[in-house]
């Protein structure tokens, strides 16, 4: 998937203040100074700001993905991720997207409810969230955090022979802007690949 750098880079260029991949954290109580520190570290090293934020340990990884899931209105599954039998190692991990087990559907209502309460006050910079949700065709995604499943991986089904679900969330996170954009655009979603 090459969309990650292109999309984030394009959107980030439009926002010289904070890169888009971390700017949303302001809605979740993270201070602008800390985000600017991550952005500066990313600029110096030629990395993405979210990578700098996490690798420098400026925010907790679980918090980051929880906030991201809330921001793009996806259920957050935490560390207990029921991976479906169609998931494949290492392809699901490299792509960053793993099919979930059927049981996940039972998790959704409560998960969505719990994150609904964490929605920050104020309007979204891109418009009404309810309108976005109605138009968004991407309904079957859920977000998780990378590290915990990595530590737990032995209880994953055998098709995932090793490791973590892990980078699934990282890539999903990288698609966040695209997912949001897709909700408003009549054009086909670029993540269909």
């Amino acid at each position: 998937m090459t969309i990650q750098g292109q999309a984030i880079g394009t959107v980030a260029a439009a926002n010289p203040v904070l890169p888009i991949e971390i700017a949303f954290l302001q809605n979740h109580g993270v201070g602008a100074d800390l985000l600017r520190r991550a952005a500066e570290a990313a600029r110096r090293s030629g990395s993405f700001a979210d990578e700098a934020l996490l690798k420098l340990g400026l925010v907790d990884e679980a918090f980051f993905y929880q906030a991201l899931a809330a921001e793009i209105e996806l259920p957050f599954l935490g560390s207990d991720v029921p991976v479906g039998p169609a998931a494949r190692f290492p392809y699901s991990l490299r792509l960053g997207l793993a099919p979930l087990a059927a049981t996940v559907s039972r998790l959704r209502p409560s998960a969505r409810k719990s994150f609904g309460s964490s929605k920050p006050p104020g309007a979204s910079p891109t418009g009404s969230r309810s309108r976005r949700r109605r138009r968004c065709a991407v309904r079957s995604f859920a977000s998780t955090e990378p590290q915990s499943p990595r530590r737990r991986r032995t209880d994953l089904p055998m098709p995932i022979r090793a490791g973590p679900i892990a980078t699934a969330a990282r890539r999903l996170k990288s698609c966040a802007a695209l997912l949001s954009a897709a909700c408003f655009s009549p054009a086909p979603s670029p993540i269909s690949a």
Binding site: S45, G46, S47, K55, F89, L93, R150, A162, P164
Partner: protein, 275 residues
């Protein structure tokens, strides 16, 4: 008559064995003498221009761990001390599923954000190369290197490797850094280790590399171009000398190994009892 014939055959066989062994020994001595004659410096002969931070690639470091709680803090300190942008360090610690000692130790340790833990699934063989193969498909770096738990690489080793790869032809798929024993004075056994490592990593391997000969890689501090390593399907999980085996497979595939004049400190065992 029959006995005399058997004795004569045995004599011939032994003579043939002696001749073959002598030729092998002569070859090894010649190779060592040839390596001694090479001018091999312990540091780069001249400073190699190094790319700026924003041009550095992601670098994957794989560290298999098995009941290494004792050196965990030292390992993490060594990874932190590496002079490389933290946003581009991709450090993967691999533990076995049933290694509760390491799992507990890691759970109690605040790991830097660039270090992640991978749990190898239960299965056979329970070897270091298998652990490396578990981590390899998850590597994100353009380059991949392997360290042991007790290793302390020189802080500029990754930058030096990137700069050396950048100057090297594409068929140079691997750089072997120098392993240096850092507890030489503990006892006579560690002194022997020091002599052995110094001979191998400071003389023989660099000599083989200079001669474009196959290099039996050391178990750690070998730096690879990731696509080449993947094309060779990583390490042989069933091979107890998977490092040397990979060096030979690289040569058979047409790739070369260069010497990387950068030290990695290692701790030699001080006794014959398993740690």
């Amino acid at each position: 008559m029959l006995l005399a014939g058997a004795v004569a055959d045995l004599g011939l066989t032994l003579s043939a064995l002696v001749i073959v062994s002598g030729l092998v020994f002569l070859g090894m001595v010649t190779m060592r003498l040839g390596a001694i004659r090479e001018h091999i410096s312990t540091r780069p002969a001249r400073r190699i221009a190094q790319p700026p931070d924003d041009a550095l690639p992601i670098y994957t470091i794989i560290v298999p761990l098995r009941r290494e709680r004792r050196v965990l803090a030292r390992l993490i300190a060594a990874m932190v001390a590496l002079d490389y942008p933290e946003t581009k360090k991709d450090v993967k610690l691999v533990i076995e599923a049933d290694d509760r000692e390491m799992a507990d130790a890691l759970a109690q340790t605040a790991l830097p954000g660039f270090i992640e833990v991978i749990v190898a699934p239960p299965g056979e063989p329970r070897t270091k190369p298998r652990a490396l193969n578990v981590a390899l498909p998850l590597a994100r770096g353009e380059f991949v290197t392997v360290y042991d738990a007790e290793d302390v690489p020189h802080r500029d080793q990754l930058r030096l490797a990137v700069a050396t790869f950048a100057r090297a032809p594409p068929d140079v798929a691997c750089l072997q850094a120098r392993l240096v024993i850092d507890n030489t004075d503990d006892n006579w056994l560690t002194r022997f280790f020091t002599i052995e490592y110094a001979t191998l990593f400071d003389v023989i391997n660099p000599g083989l590399a200079l001669g474009d000969l196959p290099v039996p890689l050391g178990g750690t501090s070998n730096h690879f171009r990731r696509p080449v390593l993947e094309s060779l399907h990583g390490w042989d999980a069933w091979n107890v000398t998977e490092d040397a085996d990979l060096g030979i497979r690289l040569a058979l595939a047409g790739y070369r190994v260069f010497d990387l004049p950068s030290a990695t400190l290692e701790e030699a065992p001080g006794s014959f009892r398993p740690g």
